[in-house]
Amino acid sequence: MTDDLTTMMLDSLDKEARRFDRAHPGSETTLYEKAIVPRRRIRRAAEAGVALAVAAAVAVGAHALVQPRSTVEPAESASATAVPLDEREWDPPGRGLVGGAGADLFGSVAVTREEASGCVALDSSSRLDGRPDLGGVPVALGGVAHGEGNVSAVVARDFDSADAAREYLDALTRAASACDGEADGEIGVDAAEVGIQSLAGEGVRVLVSAGDGFGTSWRTWVHVQGSEALAVTAQPGAGEATTADIIIAWFTAASG
């Protein structure tokens, strides 16, 4: 029986291969190269440690509607609770926090430092790492697992003041603009001022598109409330509403 089965299966494989050959007479290597080249560039740069993990999150859920930044009233400082950022008890959505979440997990669009220093600055800015003059240090809270294998990186920082936090958002927007100019069309960078209707504060989301023809994009949303900021970096395919849920969960816990 097994010999018969093997023969039948190999025969079907051959027939399907011949059919495919007839249907695809020309070379399609170029199509693959268009998809592969940018991905190899991303991977190489990520391995070299100059990954640009960026982005934004367009989280528009039933309870989280994006609004222009200016329409959202500033809130009291979340840091008024005086609980260290990494000790705050909060309840992330999805499957909760997972350990060991690093930047590589969240997808990255990369360019070399020599080619695009603005993009490198945007990379660090998306992780709240930069502008030490504004006070505070980034605290990596881990990754929030949700969906089918998606993990969003979450970083918090308590700036010196609410003004400093807002200044950071402005710097993030400028970095996104600079990166977009330097990327020369190889990647797309888009920044927008956003807010969440059910949550006080303001934010900026940055969307970095790989330009690989698949609509692949990495997103970071930095939301500030008072002097405190939370950055959520989502990998491609992550649900948009989940990003807002993470932000809401964090600041809700902060306000008690």
């Binding site: 029986m1 097994t2 089965l5 079907s12 249907a23 020309g26």
Partner: protein, 182 residues
């Protein structure tokens, strides 16, 4: 031109059609098979640091096809995400029902994915039980059980296509012996 470009070109020109055939046995329909192969080629060449030989690349692609097949949950969604590749083709869209005259494909399609994968790995790739288990990330006992159940089902489906009643597969014998011993 870097080495991987040449390997990719050779793979696409000379090996892709048989990879599609291989994926077709696993997936049971053409759109999914073609999508599995497209995705596996892109993943393989995007990730591998060095790909100097087409045989090596083909082996990677086959492994990726299997992994993707076992892990996929929404074939339609993935197919839609590959639209840019698909729409640039000159050929008409694949007919997912055009292969149904192959009784063995119909029989395979009726099997659960892991059983199907075991049958293909053993009888098309010619892997041993241990190699099949390693490739699928399951125990050898699980492979034997999958094969036993799969071959029993296929024997029933393909009874009119020259399959005998006696099964001389050594794995099947081992499983049946163990079951009788319980």
């Amino acid at each position: 031109m870097r080495a991987w470009h040449g390997v990719l070109d050779t793979l696409v020109r000379e090996r892709r059609s048989r990879l599609v055939g291989y994926a077709y046995l696993l997936a049971g329909d053409r759109p999914t098979a073609e999508d599995l192969v497209h995705d596996a080629i892109i993943r393989t060449f995007s990730r591998a640091r060095r790909l100097d030989h087409v045989n090596e690349a083909e082996a990677y692609v086959r492994r990726t096809i299997l992994t993707q097949f076992l892990n996929r949950r929404d074939h339609a969604a993935m197919a839609r995400s590959k639209l840019p590749l698909l729409v640039e083709r000159d050929a008409p869209p694949a007919d997912e029902h055009a292969g149904e005259h192959d009784a063995v494909v119909v029989a395979l399609r009726r099997l659960p994915p892991r059983q199907r994968a075991c049958v293909v790995l053993r009888h098309v790739e010619g892997l041993t039980t241990a190699e099949t288990a390693d490739r699928m990330g399951v125990s050898e006992g699980a492979v034997k059980r999958y094969l036993h159940d799969a071959l029993a089902a296929m024997r029933e489906t393909l009874g009119g296509f020259g399959f005998g009643d006696r099964d001389d597969d050594e794995d099947l014998t081992a499983v049946e012996t163990r079951r009788r011993a319980r």
